[in-house]
């Protein structure tokens, strides 16, 4: 775009709010990003308001009404203890999103810092970090989670820590390789030339330019974190019953899959929705988190 073809926004310098609104509008034109954000917003609302929108207390058993079929009273029926499945699934959203966000926050922060420093410093710092990353990547994540749960006891925190530790080296590896492509770019040298310290160059120029692909990896890893939590809970190593999570709802329904398939299937459906939401968001961010994307992907396509 040439500098003069939008004379209108010369006259009014954009306020931060207007700029933010404009950015949001631009980003939400991407269909994947819009759908992912929409689904995720929905899940978030469900998680926040689960105690109020759940029709029954999720832990309340009712031995006179076990394994009820779907009905207007119990939309998804009841399980073998007479608990309302819909209420349990709604509450399970909380655990899944908590795991997803905590894992992303932890692994993104740690992985970004470790990868950025390793890639930017080079030399022996990079070599040692790479060796550690490779060892962690080669180590089966599930085995590690099992060991951690054995040591700390099974709890939500154990799951989060285990999954975060499994994901940090992935983020760090991606971050390092992106930093390696940014390090030789001329604007890094030009930052040094104005007298910036190495830390400042790293913080102000290297990391912001390296983040987009890493954010995409982290978003997609949120989906995997939800799966990992479900898997661990299914095995009884994650969040302990009776607290509902999608994983242990599937486990509870496992033995009833022939007679009451909706119990497992509905929880599985929720996992699929959450994973798709995060993946769409990740793909959408990959396409839009580039200031030049307006030129490259072309608005005309959407």
């Amino acid at each position: 775009m040439s500098a003069d073809d939008r004379a209108s926004d010369l006259a009014v310098p954009p306020t931060p709010w207007r700029q933010l609104a404009e950015t949001l509008r631009d980003h939400l034109r991407h269909p994947g990003l819009a759908i992912g954000t929409g689904l995720l917003a929905l899940l978030l609302l469900v998680a926040l308001f689960a105690p109020w929108i759940a029709p029954y207390p999720p832990l309340k058993t009712n031995m006179s009404n076990t394994l009820a079929p779907m009905s207007s009273a119990h939309w998804l029926g009841t399980d073998q203890f007479g608990r309302d499945v819909l209420s349990r699934i709604l509450l399970g959203t909380q655990v899944s999103l908590q795991v997803a966000f905590a894992v992303v926050a932890l692994s993104l922060t740690a992985g970004t810092l470790i990868g950025a420093i390793a890639g930017f410093a080079g030399g022996w710092i990079e070599r040692i970090t790479l060796v550690i990353i490779d060892i962690l990547l080669a180590f089966p994540g599930f085995l590690f989670a099992l060991a951690l749960v054995a040591a700390r006891g099974s709890s939500l925190e154990s799951v989060i820590i285990a999954v975060a530790i499994a994901f940090t080296p992935r983020v760090a590896a991606v971050m390092r390789s992106v930093v390696l492509t940014i390090k030789p770019r001329p604007f890094i040298e030009s930052s040094r030339a104005i007298g910036m310290s190495e830390w400042r160059v790293l913080w102000r120029h290297v990391i912001p330019n390296a983040l987009p692909p890493v954010i995409v990896v982290a978003t997609v890893s949120a989906a995997t974190a939800i799966l990992a939590e479900a898997g661990l809970s299914f095995l009884g190593l994650g969040v302990q019953p009776p607290t509902p999570t999608w994983g242990n709802i599937i486990a509870d329904g496992n033995s009833l899959i022939t007679t009451n398939p909706w119990i497992s299937l509905s929880a599985g459906f929720c996992i699929a929705i959450a994973v798709i939401a995060f993946n769409l968001l990740g793909d959408g961010l990959r396409d839009t988190l580039d200031p030049q994307m307006k030129r490259q992907t072309g608005r005309g396509l959407l």
Binding site: P186, R200, P208
Partner: protein, 367 residues
């Protein structure tokens, strides 16, 4: 930023580079074999006074860009001394060098790559001031002032680099370098990536800025016409060495080194009549690699004068490559010396030997 430095004595050069070398050692390969080292800059000395423009010309691979980076210590010199405004840059700690970079700034060749794509133009121009601790309150005013100075509309400060054209981006690069009012600007091929019409605008802008601020320029380029337009003095580099240096008019009017003569003969003339009458002087082959610097005079494999002198047959000769050259050219490294202390060239033989130049085959007709 520059207030706490001693003003240099009137006679003292602002920048003095003394016998500086940079050897990029190849390190060791996987099997422990020593990789060959590249002698990018090899014993270069030059001086630059306040307000002066020194043009540095040479082919790709002559080490001119490395020399520019050595001046800012973006590249660590292997040996030699660089003195700026009376302070020995080579002896300083990195923190002190960073502080001094406030007074030595650089404009880069690539106007597309040298600006962080994620920062607005205003932030890019403000950055050097923030780094060097200018009072925050002054910065916005100073940013619009500098943008005006380089011919950019200050209302565009919130735009991002990709929204500008190449010439405008180079103006942003210049604005960024000027933000701290440096005393020396290293211009590394500032117009090579631009259209010819834009080149003239940028060169005129640089001239105006120099007239207004008295900044000294170290102007690195491969385009002899551009260098002639902007420089007071010119230094010609070949394979990490300065082979000829002198005041602009002397160097362009009466070049002494065969390399300079060949380069100048390759510049097209504006008049077709003149262009037809003059003879193109051959340069044989291509610039050697910095990993295998030729013995003796490093220009001897490509030199027409060496062939002429050898052909005249009054000196001992040796065979070299595809020609016969004087033995001294292949054995002895010529010193940079000349008739006056201003105009120096590094050649064993003077331009008086070039009389029979027309007898040589033009380089273009050799395969």
């Amino acid at each position: 930023m520059t207030g706490n430095e001693q003003p240099p004595a009137p006679d003292e050069p602002l920048l003095s580079v003394a016998n500086v070398s940079k050897i990029f050692s190849g390190g060791r390969s996987l099997l422990g074999r020593q990789r060959s080292a590249v002698r990018a800059v090899d014993g270069v000395s030059l001086e630059l006074r306040a307000g002066e423009t020194l043009g540095l010309v040479g082919e790709t691979g002559s080490g001119k860009s490395t020399l520019g980076r050595l001046v800012l210590r973006l590249v660590e010199p292997t040996s030699g001394r660089i003195t700026f405004a009376g302070e020995d840059l080579t002896a300083k700690s990195m923190a002190e060098v960073r502080r001094l970079r406030g007074s030595i700034q650089m404009v880069f060749q690539d106007p597309y790559g040298s600006l962080d794509p994620r920062m607005s133009v205003g932030a890019l121009i403000a950055e050097p001031m923030i780094v060097h601790g200018a009072p925050r309150a002054d910065i916005p005013r100073r940013v619009s002032e500098i943008m005006g100075l380089v011919g950019l509309d200050a209302r565009l400060a919130h735009r991002y680099p990709h929204q500008f054209s190449g010439g405008q981006r180079q103006r942003i690069g210049i604005a960024r370098a000027m933000a701290l009012s440096p005393k020396l600007l290293v211009l590394d091929e500032p117009v090579s990536a631009l259209d010819v019409s834009i080149q003239a605008q940028i060169l005129n802008l640089l001239r105006d800025i120099q007239q207004r601020t008295g900044m000294a320029y170290l102007f690195i380029a491969h385009d002899l016409a551009v260098v002639r337009h902007v420089s007071n003095r010119v230094a010609v580099m070949y394979l990490g060495r300065i082979v000829e240096t002198g005041p602009r008019d002397k160097l362009y009017g009466a070049p002494r080194h065969p390399y300079t003569i060949s380069l100048l003969s390759a510049v097209p003339l504006a008049s077709p009549a003149l262009e037809r009458t003059r003879s193109r002087i051959p340069v044989y082959g291509e610039i050697s690699s910095g990993t295998a610097v030729p013995s003796g005079c490093r220009f001897h494999p490509r030199c027409f004068r060496a062939r002429l002198v050898a052909g005249a047959g009054k000196v001992p000769t040796v065979a070299s490559g595809d020609g016969i050259i004087p033995a001294v050219c292949a054995q002895q490294d010529p010193k940079l010396e000349g008739p006056t202390s201003e105009h120096l060239s590094a050649c064993h033989f003077g331009p008086e030997h070039d009389g029979r130049i027309a007898t040589l085959q033009p380089a273009g007709e050799r395969a």
